[in-house]
Amino acid sequence: MSAPAIDAATFEALKETTGAEFVVELVDTFLQEAPTMLEDLRRALAAKDAEKFRRTAHSLKSNSNTFGALTLGAMARELELTSAAKVSEGSAAPVDALAEEYSRVAAALSALRHA
């Protein structure tokens, strides 16, 4: 049993405080921006740019938590905190795992967006 991609309570609270229409706009923005962030992570990894890697993971963490994508947020946080090691190891596996969790989140958000 894996945890839901999106924590329903967090997402509902977001809708409650900012308005349903606005949340649609916000989700769309995230779905536009997140692939770029994943791409940035891969590029930073290849360029051995630990600072860029850390900052991008930080942004992704922050956005994930906003929507209640708690697993994605935790994974991004892990990358943020261990950026130097991840960059020196140079393995794409952690970013691949992150991208996979993101697909789950994106699907859940798209469904919620149309709900």
Partner: protein
């Protein structure tokens, strides 16, 4: 619609992440504020220097110029260093939060920001900003820039200290009958022009106006900022006041109006200076025998038929160039011994 805790302000949101920027802007707009946003520190500083904002909501992790650099720049900028900053970030590590506060951030909210907390913190910050702006405005009106600066850095705590300074009282002779003989708006216009001239002469010599009552002014030289030659500064300021009134009278005569005459009394010595009042409303003032004597000397100008009267302590502090005429000892109400009084020649500078 929920009730607003405080009146709305003009806010700037700085965040490089679009989702964060949109979300924070939306939350603040829902609370009734007017919000602008910037995507990095450099752009934010440009906007802050160009437009007036009441509050800055600052993200820390940003390319080009990060939040720490923005805080450093703000602290070094005289125009912007009082701008309240609330850091909104998801920084890892308490030491980073501590660094924000040390660099002058008013508060730290971690992301995702709780709307209730956001509202409360912003309300408090805006209220503080408003109070500070009011104080600055008061200072700007009543004190020289140097004094205002000093008070701002030393704070506004109530309580006095013993200082050596000179106090000056001045007013317009026969003002009541003058006011009764002309339309009220003309009296106000006269007072405004008169005050403007007197304030210039007083602050130009390092004095601070501490009291305005009708046509009367009380000003202090040597407090809150010490002034080495406070006696001479007060006397020179008095001479300039007389000269400015003479020039003003030339204008009045040309307009067919009667001239005004002023009387000035100055005394020097120890006095208690500081803020009195309550925490909500306080005024800077000086208290003591020296202050009473200055007031008596001013009243005595009518009897002595002189424009500027000073006491012995003030006279002994003057340089030779200022011509002084001894008028002998005068018994004043409230004084056990008669006081030596001197008249200053307004023109002899």
């Amino acid at each position: 619609m929920r009730e607003l805790r405080s009146s709305p302000g003009r806010l700037l949101v700085v965040d490089d992440n679009k989702v964060n920027r949109l979300l924070l802007t939306r939350s603040l707009e829902l609370q009734g504020h007017s919000v602008a946003s910037a995507e990095n520190g450099r752009v934010a500083l440009e906007m802050l220097r160009r437009e007036g904002f009441d509050l800055l909501l600052l993200d820390m992790e940003m390319p080009e110029m990060d939040g720490f650099q923005v805080l450093e720049q703000l602290a070094g900028d005289r125009q912007l260093r009082d701008l309240p900053v609330i850091v909104t970030s998801s920084l890892e590590g308490v030491e980073n939060v501590v660094r924000c506060i040390e660099l002058g951030a008013e508060d730290y909210l971690s992301k995702p920001v709780n709307p209730g907390l956001l509202k409360a913190r912003i309300g408090t910050s805006l209220e503080k900003k408003r109070l500070r702006d009011q104080q600055k405005e008061l200072m700007r009106r009543f004190a020289t820039p140097e004094v205002a600066q000093d008070l701002q850095t030393s704070g506004f705590s109530l309580g006095g200290k013993l200082v050596r300074a000179s106090v000056m009282f001045s007013d317009i002779r026969g003002f009541t009958s003058l006011a009764e003989s002309q339309p009220p708006e003309e009296t106000i216009e006269l007072l405004n022009t008169y005050y403007e001239l007197m304030f210039d002469a007083i602050s130009g010599h390092g004095g601070v106006v501490t009291l305005m009552m009708g046509d009367g002014l009380m000003s202090v030289f040597g407090a809150p900022v010490p002034l080495v030659d406070h006696g001479e500064s007060a006397v020179r300021s008095a001479q300039e006041m007389v000269e400015l009134v003479d020039l003003f009278n030339v204008e009045r005569k040309a307009a067919g109006k009667p001239p005004i005459k002023i009387g000035i009394g100055i005394a020097s010595g120890e006095m208690v200076a500081g803020y009195t009042g309550t925490n909500k409303r306080a005024t800077y003032t000086c208290i003591g025998d020296t202050v009473n004597l200055a007031a008596r000397l001013e009243t005595h100008t009518k009897v002595a038929q002189r424009v500027i009267l000073i006491d012995e302590a003030t006279r002994s502090s003057l340089s030779e160039r200022i011509a002084v005429e001894p008028l002998g000892a005068v018994p004043f109400k409230g004084k056990s011994n008669a006081v030596e009084v001197f008249a200053v020649d307004p023109a002899q500078r």
